[in-house]
Amino acid sequence: MRFLTRYRPRPFGGSSVVALGLALGAVLASAVLFWFVSWNAPMYAAAPEPIFSIGPLAPGGSVEQEFEVAGSYLTGVDFFARTEAEQSLPANFIARLYEGEVIVRQDELETRIGPDVESVRWNFDAVADPVGRRFRLQVVVGEGMTRPVFLMASLTDMLPGSAVTNGIPTGAHIDLAGLPWREIRRLDTLLATAASLPGGIAGLAVLMLAVGGGLGYVMSAVARSSGSLETAAWMVLGLSVAGLVLIVELHRSGELSLPERHFRLWPGFFRTMGLLAGTALAAVIARPVGRLIDNISNSPGGRTKDWRERSLSSLVIVAVLVTLFAGVAYTLDGPELVFVKVPIFESEHVSQGDVGLLEHGPARAAAKVATVVWLVVGSGALLYQISTRRRRMT
């Protein structure tokens, strides 16, 4: 019995038109979504705790703080300020961004500050490639200020060096509470994503070709496409789907800090692509399973002719399906506590590949049910083998 002999070669134009149509739809959807992609988030996962004040600072007084960032496109910095006035007043600051002794960006900021701590955002033209560079933020209180100003400090020592007030360093653990910011859109989000991969744009292209092309290839197997042109059409669809999934993930990552660096964007991408590819693979694998069922129920001349063999085969199918359910539920469930961590020097941890869509319950229950069904299969097989041997002996 051959499982895959029932297909008829089809000319280009059947499933390939469907594939190309779907690909066009995916490309259009991607284009629309891509237009609205925007990342507007801090570049540090943890915000500073601005609970201590540096000051009072008179006009001309300044505070400096060094910092570094781990992702591309630095477009701004938040710092925190307050004044002793009872109501908020107009305030102006001169903000400078140094790299070594070179001023990289400089601006005069107009804002309002009051007795409560306010965050002041300084947006500037993007520094496209800040990784591996050390910057120094200098905030100078503007000449127009009528009341003393306090800039807020953090004691969590997240930043390199210490805050420097009017040229004098503070304690090593005292930082100016600053938060580098990134506000980028469309192509810049894609370039930032590519910059996190080995090989940059080329690396992203290879990844998309491999993942999208692979998905397309599996889909072509599901559609039983014939010939390289039809396969190519399905691979184009796979590629467009991969593009769409990536753009959806770019969209979803808009408010995360450095989603491309901290394993936030990629798990979502691989999860969706994995589910799509897994579904397609399951469809491919379902074919022989279907044929197996077919074979068992319609086997006039085969060996599976009596009710015991048919029942046993059916039980095996049930056991396979329940086990498969348990396996899929296990991959889809959430992370477990790991008490013993194996240190990994490049990626920091071993990922078990949990998807996080389910709780532990379904996998655990399905594993128990599968075990029971397999035990029933085993008992049945044992009884069948004993009875067959007895029959042979008599």
Partner: protein
């Protein structure tokens, strides 16, 4: 030329895959060593145990054969290192040793891949084994961080490979080779003595039925006593002969077998391990009261009742957490096994021997019903299903059974990830065999439909996989080389900043001989983990004794004071990790109380913003 390569590739399709996997593995293994995440002189954490074998290799290189020792677990590892020390000196020898370990560790990858290929004859199965082995984090780490487990990993992989070769065709040379490789497994590490012996003893029994469980068993005249059992007994005979030869040679040159071996027999060379085992499991026995029979009694009476607690801990804490994408590996194994089941359309139920596999998930259901962790349940289920339907997997599980047993037995005591890696290796083999067999089954289904397209798809997948693997390995190695070159430039600059009276203190993840050669100043290496080496220009490469007196000091400050009183100005070097160090924790004295020592920037390094030359603040 290209045509010749293409023809060769078609004739022996596995060869290019193995070469590609080896290159990818060597690159992937080399990157962390070049970057000095770990290296033979720095194990990556600070256990410092590798220094034991390095010390023995130095003694052996100096002609002291008493350095050869079975119970220190470096009997086969130490001589190889000693040869390099003898030929190249300490510094160059250590660097050559690092390269050697990387190349040997990478060899496990094609060995695993070829083992799977011999069983399944499927390239995708071989590729799966290769990929999983390349990214086996413990094998990569302990394969090249100076621990003797590197030799054990190689022996485990080599034993599986030669065993499979014997199952395919049990010629006398192959059986002798199996005995020899098993002897290396037994003698390399005391933990593996018993499992290797059991492996050797059951080999004849398993090989007698090889045609029932090995899919590619070749016809071979193995009937009759002379050609059958006597031939198959070659493996255990070879094992005991090689073991005896090495042991006698060791004794004759003055090496050590093990404390107690003389009185308690050779299988009690690990008597202290057995003592601690017995007193842990049986609180009524005192340390000095132990006798070898207590070990047997504890294993037979007390250990079984602890198994339901120990096995889940082992799976959860030693296997699932040491395999990347463990859940997907299990799922792929299950899917592949179901394809194999679908291939047995006429009788999809398990055979009599296969039914024994039900004991594995059945045990879980009956004895561990309260298990809340799906990882453990799914592991039992997967292993049980694989046992039921893949006969060769059963045989491998039987062979690894004693290893698993001893690891679980010692789980409350000494079992570590470097030991349990053998079971990770087994899991990789089982998953890859299932995948290879499933691909073989799908190939049979496709045979009359469009075999050419299937083959083209398979080749495309394998080529893409190898290109990605080699590409990733090349990029990470190139990055690591770039980082080391940048460190070299920094060290040159640092050498210019320091005066003649400088003494350079370093952290662990540096190459002390490179630091000495580039800066030309005395170096105290790995100050935070015991200041393990002191070397100076013109001094011995293995280090001098200047640190010995400091071990008796009460506090770290006193050590720095003493160094300054001798006229040294103390500088500090640590590789660039994105921010400059502001302090360090010295550990000269071995005292538990750490004292943080501040560092002072004395000059800015122009090439890396934020980096500076650092001096010890006092």
């Amino acid at each position: 030329m290209l045509k010749a390569i293409t023809v060769w590739g078609r004739q022996t399709p596995i060869a290019p895959v193995l070469i590609g996997l080896y290159v990818a593995a060597a690159l992937a293994r080399a990157a962390p060593v070049i970057r000095l995440d770990y290296a033979p002189w720095w194990d990556g954490v600070g256990y410092g145990y590798a220094d034991l074998w390095t010390g023995e290799a130095l003694r052996l290189a100096g002609g002291d054969f008493a350095a050869l020792s079975f119970y220190s677990e470096g009997l086969l590892f130490v001589p190889a290192q000693a040869i390099l020390f003898r030929l190249l000196g300490v510094a160059s020898g250590m660097h050559a040793w690092a390269v050697f370990l990387v190349l040997v560790s990478a060899a496990i990858v094609p060995i695993a891949a070829h083992t799977v290929y011999l069983i399944t004859r499927q390239l995708i199965g071989a590729l799966a084994a290769g990929v999983l082995t390349i990214f086996d984090p413990v094998s990569a780490w302990f394969g090249s961080n100076g621990w003797s487990d590197a030799q054990t990993f190689l022996s485990v992989a080599g034993t599986c490979w030669v065993f499979v070769l014997c199952a395919r065709k049990p010629t006398i040379p192959r059986l002798l080779l199996l005995g020899a490789v098993l002897a290396t497994l037994a003698l390399g590490h005391t933990t593996w003595l018993y499992p290797a012996t059991i492996w050797a003893l059951i080999t004849p029994v398993l090989l007698a039925s090889r045609k029932k469980w090995f899919p590619g068993a070749q016809d071979f005249p193995d009937s009759g006593i002379r050609r059958g059992w006597l031939r198959r007994a070659t493996a255990p005979l070879g094992f005991f002969a090689v073991g005896a030869l090495i042991t006698i040679s060791l004794i004759s040159v003055g090496g050590a077998i093990g404390a107690g071996a003389e009185t308690d027999g050779p299988f009690n060379v690990d008597r202290n391990n057995q003592r601690v085992l017995v007193v842990t499991y049986d609180k009524s026995i005192e340390w000095d009261e132990w006798t070898p029979s207590d070990t047997v009694r504890v294993i037979l009476t007390i250990f079984p009742s602890r198994i339901p607690d120990l096995v889940p801990s082992f799976i959860h804490g030693h296997i699932a957490n040491a395999v990347h994408f463990y859940r997907w590996v299990l799922l792929a194994t299950l899917l592949a096994t179901f394809v194999v089941i679908a291939g047995r359309r006429q009788n999809p139920w398990p055979s009599r021997w296969g039914l024994l596999g039900l004991l594995i998930p059945g045990y879980f259901l009956l004895l561990e019903p309260r298990i809340e962790v799906p990882t453990v349940a799914l592991t039992y289920l997967t292993i049980g299903v694989v046992w039921m339907y893949i006969p060769v997997a059963r045989v491998l599980m039987v062979l690894f059974g004693p290893i698993l047993g001893i690891l679980i037995l010692y789980l409350p005591l000494t079992t570590q990830a470097r030991h349990s890696n053998a079971i990770v290796f087994l899991l990789i083999l089982l998953a890859s065999i299932a995948i290879g067999m499933a691909v073989g089954q799908v190939k049979r289904w496709y045979q009359d439909v469009d075999s050419r397209r299937f083959m083209a798809g398979q080749r495309m997948l394998i080529s893409a996989g190898l290109i990605v693997l080699v590409g990733v390995g090349s990029v990470s190695t190139a990055n690591a080389i770039g980082e080391r070159l940048a460190e070299g430039r920094y060290l040159e600059w640092l050498g210019e900043q320091m005066g003649e009276d400088a003494l350079l203190i370093t952290v662990a993840d540096v190459d002390p001989w490179q630091v000495l050669a580039v800066t030309g100043r005395p170096v105290i290496y790995d100050v935070e983990n015991g200041a393990r080496l002191a070397i100076e220009p013109g001094g011995p490469e293995r280090g001098d004794d200047m640190l010995a007196e400091f071990r008796a000091y009460d506090d770290e400050e006193a050590v720095f004071l003493a160094l300054e009183q001798r006229g040294f100005r103390l500088w500090f070097y640590s590789p660039w990790r994105g921010a400059e160090r502001q302090w360090f924790d010295p550990a000269f004295t071995g005292s538990r109380a750490r004292e943080r020592i501040e560092l002072t920037k004395v000059a800015d390094y122009p090439e890396q913003i934020g980096r500076a030359a650092l001096m010890v603040s006092r």
